[in-house]
């Protein structure tokens, strides 16, 4: 058992060593042509910017450089677990060539990419080659005594294998001994040598303060989403008021004016119009109520998240169990976001899952509001474009909240939401 395990370990390591060698070889073969090509293209393209042609070509070339750098970042992570952080500035989708070119040129990351190219085709090339050489050179040493030396040393000459002058069979054995030692060293260090290549790439490519930059990017994005969402929301409210309550109040006012005029002449007709005005007022109130519920549900304002979700569950056309463990109330914006997130998830469950039962659980631990919604439906829910869940994710994003969906085909669906917040 034990030996088996060791055997497996050795085999595993051998695989790793050979893989590192092969990967190094592949990299070094690929690095030179691509690196040189993109470096030349970049320089040419930049040189042609004053002529105008560069404006068209530069974004393309820089995108290529970016792709090349991204490939290296990906390989660094996949092959050696070395994470190289990036922070490209987002470009507007419909930018013209001019703003695209200068947008990219203003991005420091672009200059880091371009600066990386000459490093990559020199030091990067060598460091990629090292693992392959470290593996092949000892093999050559071991092959020397097998007769290889004869082809190197035709007539009394000397072939240097490292520091061993090979002149005959005996010294060839000496070279082989050195080869064996080198192989042992390679056995130990080859995977790490490949790592050196990627560490070099990281030293040049990595974004300083990468995490902060990434954070800023996320914040910018979620802020934009939040602003967009609230602007859209305000537009919807404006439209609803304009077409609904406002219009009804106008109609009511007109009816009442007519009633005033008819009061003496045609009391019968006046009475009819009065009834109609009253109906209009009821309908206007109904619409306002729906609108208010969509802006900020009264129960949420009156009772907080727990009871608001309970009240929500009571409105569902399916059996719902709600358990709440909140020793206080989160801030109003968080509360509202959480409420609408739950509401959307429940609506989704009712519409698409075919479930006849849902469970909602709300609790607060370790500074985190956790909400889980489970249904016994058919599953298959996903956070995709156009699904309500994508909207929920965006809504929660504003508060650094996250959404996770587990919904295997056949169900059950489990939606988990987490929002960092304090309770008051």
């Amino acid at each position: 058992m034990n030996t088996d395990f060791r055997h497996g370990g050795v085999r595993e390591h051998a695989r790793e060593v050979v893989l590192a060698g092969v990967r190094g070889l592949v990299l070094s073969v690929a690095v030179l042509p691509f690196g040189v090509a993109f470096l030349v293209l970049t320089l040419l393209s930049l040189a042609f910017v004053p002529l105008g042609i560069g404006l068209v070509t530069t974004p393309w070339v820089l995108t290529g450089v970016r792709a090349l750098a991204d490939t290296r970042r990906r390989l660094a992570d996949e092959w050696c677990g070395i994470r190289i952080r990036t922070a490209y500035r987002p470009l507007p989708a419909d930018a013209n060539p001019w703003s695209r070119t200068f947008g990219m040129l203003r991005d420091r990351q672009t200059w880091r990419d371009v600066g990386w190219l000459p490093v990559d085709i020199t030091a990067g090339f060598l460091t990629a080659l090292l693992p392959a050489v470290a593996l092949l050179y000892p093999v050559e040493g071991l092959l020397l005594p097998a007769g290889l030396w004869r082809s190197y040393v035709p007539d009394g000459g000397t072939y240097w294998y490292a520091f061993v002058p090979v002149t005959g069979q005996a010294t060839a054995f000496g070279a082989a001994a050195l080869g064996a030692v080198l192989l042992a060293v390679a056995w130990r260090y080859t995977p790490r040598l490949l790592g050196a290549h990627f560490r070099l790439a990281r030293a040049v490519l990595d974004t300083p303060h990468g995490e902060l930059t990434e954070r800023v990017r996320v914040l910018t994005e979620t802020r934009r989403d939040a602003v967009d969402t609230s602007a859209a929301e305000l537009r919807r409210i404006e439209r609803d008021l304009h077409d609904g309550a406002q219009a009804r109040l106008v109609a009511m006012g007109m009816d009442l004016g007519t009633v005033e005029m008819l009061l003496d002449k045609d009391p019968q007709q006046a009475r009819k119009l009065l009834a109609q005005a009253r109906r209009s007022s009821t309908e206007a109130l109904e619409e306002l109520r729906d609108l208010v519920r969509g802006i900020h549900p009264p129960v949420l304002a009156e009772r907080g998240l727990g009871d608001a979700v309970r009240a929500l569950a009571l409105r569902l056309p399916l059996a719902a169990e709600v358990s709440v463990e909140l020793p206080g109330r989160p801030d109003a914006p968080v509360e509202s976001a959480a409420y609408f997130a739950v509401s959307e998830v429940l609506t989704n469950a009712v519409k698409h899952s075919g479930a006849d039962r849902v469970w909602v659980d709300l609790h607060h631990t370790d500074g985190m509001l956790r909400v889980t919604v489970t249904d016994n439906g058919r599953g298959g829910a996903a956070i995709g474009a156009g699904s309500g869940l994508a909207g929920v994710e965006r809504r929660l994003g504003t508060f650094d909240g996250v959404l996770a969906v587990s919904s295997p085909a056949g169900g059950p669906t489990l939606v988990t939401m987490e929002i960092p917040c304090a309770l008051s």
Binding site: R278, S281, T282, L285, E286, R289, V292, R293, P298, V299, A301, E302, R303, D307, R310, A311, L314, R315, L316, P317, L318, A319, D356
Partner: protein, 217 residues
């Protein structure tokens, strides 16, 4: 009949006072905040309290909490709760003690003065006045999976809805323009189909129906 009224918006409070006085009620107190309501309920000994859910100082469900507190101290104290919105959750809390003498209506119902005053009188007499919206929500939720409910005829459903609102047989008969005897027949059918015990007492009957509709599946 002495009424304690709690409503924070002056226009509405004033309107309600005038309406109730026009129908011969005596306004024992008309207050605008939770603490004042607490005091009025304790001191004015009203026959019925008409209370807005949302009151200062917290502007949350202060009014409802005052009403529930008062009913805990004086079980069966008739309370009619008014609100801009109705929630089944609140209706459930009001009905929870099983004592009757509760009402829960949308403020819009005040527009129909006759019906509103009828509701106040019903609550004062220990009856129930549930907003049609509450009942519709209950029925909608029930209807999906409740087999006994599905066996009711459309007419019986109509009667059930009105009965759950707290209306008496006579009132239901008037609204549906049929004889009271016909309604009695419908109600006994409903009770048989739902497996409920028939009771002569109107209030008991309403509470039984509400309990049935709000029962957890």
């Amino acid at each position: 009949m002495r009424v304690v009224l709690a409503e924070d918006l002056f226009l509405l409070r004033d309107g309600l006072v005038r309406l109730l006085e026009a129908y011969g009620f005596e306004i024992a107190a008309a207050v605008e905040s939770g603490p004042e309501l607490d005091r009025a309920l304790a001191e004015a000994e009203p026959d019925v309290a008409v209370v807005d859910v949302r009151l200062p100082p917290t502007h949350t469900d202060e009014g409802l909490q005052c009403a529930l507190r008062a009913r805990r101290e004086r079980p069966g104290l008739p309370v009619l709760v008014l609100s801009q919105h109705v929630e089944q959750l609140y209706a459930r809390e009001l009905l929870a003690d099983g004592n009757g003498g509760v009402g829960y209506l949308l403020k819009d119902r005040v527009f129909d003065a006759d019906q509103f005053v009828d509701a106040v009188r019903r609550v004062a007499a220990g009856g129930t006045a549930m907003d049609p919206q509450v009942i519709q929500q209950l029925l909608a939720r029930r209807a999906a999976a409740d087999r006994p409910l599905a066996r009711l005829t459309p007419r019986e459903r109509e009667v059930l809805e009105l009965m759950a609102q707290g209306r008496s047989n006579a009132a239901i008969a008037a609204q549906l323009v049929v004889t009271e005897r016909a309604i009695t027949k419908h109600t006994s059918n409903i009770f048989t189909k739902l497996g409920l015990e028939v009771s002569d007492d109107d209030n008991r009957r309403v509470l039984a129906v509400l309990a049935y509709l709000d029962r957890d599946r």
